[in-house]
Structures are given as C-alpha cells and as structure tokens.
C-alpha cells in the first residue's frame, strides 16, 4: 500500500517479505528514505524533495534493507 502526496511517498507493508529500499534507491536515487515507527508499526517515508527544504517530520534515516530489517526487529510494541 502506498500513500502519495506531491512530495512524499509513504509505504506501509509487511516488510519481512520485501526489498523495497533497494528498489526505491534504484528508481529514486536522490530521495531520502526515513523509517517511521509508531506503537509497533513501521512505515517508510520517501522524501522526493530532499535537498530543497527540510522534511516536515522526524524519522530514522535508513540506507539499506538490512538497516530496515534490524530496525524492524527493534520496533517497540
């Protein structure tokens, strides 16, 4: 499931079965990817406009699927 605005793409999925980050980085190499955690949930916020204004939300910067898997193991809740 993807929710998209003009600047941001928010992905909320079952992350264990995906390698999204590699795909996102190959298609959108300039985008910044933030992991958002919230009471046991994990979403990826892709900021398409990185470099042209600060992101309006705080998140953990992730750069690989391995980062994401490690983060997922430690999501509270």
């Amino acid at each position: 499931m993807a929710v998209i605005s003009r600047r941001y793409i928010l992905l909320e999925e079952n992350w264990w079965r995906h390698n999204y980050l590699r795909l996102i980085q190959s298609v959108l190499p300039d985008a910044r990817v933030l992991a958002l955690t919230n009471s046991g949930a994990l979403g990826l916020l892709v900021d398409l406009n990185f470099g042209h204004g600060s992101c309006q939300i705080d998140g953990i910067k992730v750069s690989s699927d391995r980062d994401l898997q490690i983060l997922l193991r430690n999501v509270p809740g």
Binding site: M1, A2, V3, I4, S5, R6, R7, Y8, I9, L10, L11, E12, N14, W16, R17, H18, N19, Y20, R22, L23, I24, S26, V27, L28, L36, N38, S39, G40, A41, L42, G43, L45, L48, Q56, I57, D65, Q69, G77
Partner: protein, 183 residues
C-alpha cells in the same frame, strides 16, 4: 498447475520466513493471486480484523497530531501511522495506490477534510465495495487497469497505473515527482 504450485511454495517461503528480501530479488510475479481477491474475499478479511476500521463508527479527537479514539477497539498501528503521518505532513493532496475498500481514504477525509483525496485500485470488485462502503456519491475511488508495482524490480519501471475512468496513465514512481497528484 505445476507453475501455480511453485508460486505458492515460493510465496509461503516469502511470507513465512525471513528469506523475503532475498526471494524478492528473483521473484518475477506478484505477491497476491488477484483473481481470489474479490469483493467477498475482501469483506471476509475485513470482518476478521479486530481493530477499528473506520473513524466514523466512533467518536474521536486529535491531540498534538495524535488520534484519540473513544471506542474499545483501537486503530491498527499501521493505519494509525498513516493517519498521524498525514496529520503531521498536512499535504494538499493524497493518492492511495491500492485503496481496497477505501477505509483509509474515508478516515483521511474525516481527519483532513481540506485535502484532495483519490484512491486507485486494480480490482473492480474492490472499488465497487469501496463505493458501497464509503463513497456512494463521490468520485474519490477510481479504477486502474494495472497496479503500481513496487516489488518486481525488472518490471517496476515499466509498469503503469492506468486510470480507466479518465482514460489516461498515472505515472509510475519513476516519474511520479510532481505529476502523480494534482496539488
């Protein structure tokens, strides 16, 4: 028949083990068997969920961009993440790719009434269900002939989300920058 069995075997490994990211690199087909995913199937799936699906079914409030619901059933954590992120970002428009029954869009409409919302789904059955369930008289949900693909790498760049009702392609993520949603 054999191919279908093989797909199921790989999908079960992908769902049930932590081999998902590895298998995802080589799996050329979609995760879901879409012909099974019709309106009745979706309705059954929804009825199994023990969380609050729609904010319209209870009273709610927003405190510091956090949604407070008064019912015993809370929002699913993943759904809460979507809504609270949207509340924080306050975009002018939101598109949902794969909107299914349209519950997210209906909730976002309540939370952010000023935001332009549109949902696409590849399944005509699900869109019919979404219209029946949430959007009887407006055009929030629209059909597309092809779903946006985000896990089959070789095909992702070339796949399209085609809006059947408007007769035009919606760009893929590859060219989504500034084009996907009217602002």
């Amino acid at each position: 028949m054999l191919a279908r069995f093989f797909q199921r075997l790989v999908n079960s490994l992908r769902y049930g083990t932590r081999l998902g990211p590895l298998i995802g690199r080589f799996q050329p087909w979609d995760d879901f068997y879409w012909p099974r995913y019709n309106k009745d199937f979706y309705r059954r799936e929804i009825s199994r969920v023990g969380y609050l699906d729609r904010l319209s079914e209870t009273s709610w409030s927003i405190e510091n961009a956090r949604i407070i619901v008064s019912s015993k059933r809370d929002l699913h954590p993943n759904h809460r993440l979507i809504y609270e992120t949207a509340l924080n970002l306050r975009p002018r428009a939101i598109t949902e790719i794969g909107c299914g029954g349209g519950d997210h869009l209906a909730n976002l409409k309540l939370l952010l009434p000023e935001v332009y919302l549109v949902g696409f789904d590849v399944s005509a059955d699900q869109l019919e269900f979404a219209r029946e369930r949430n959007f009887a008289n407006d055009g929030v949900v629209r059909s597309c002939l092809y779903e946006l693909r985000v896990d089959a790498h070789p095909r992702w760049k070339t796949s399209r989300t085609f809006c059947a009702e408007h007769g035009r392609d919606i760009p893929t993520l590859h060219s989504a920058r500034g084009k996907l949603v009217a602002s």
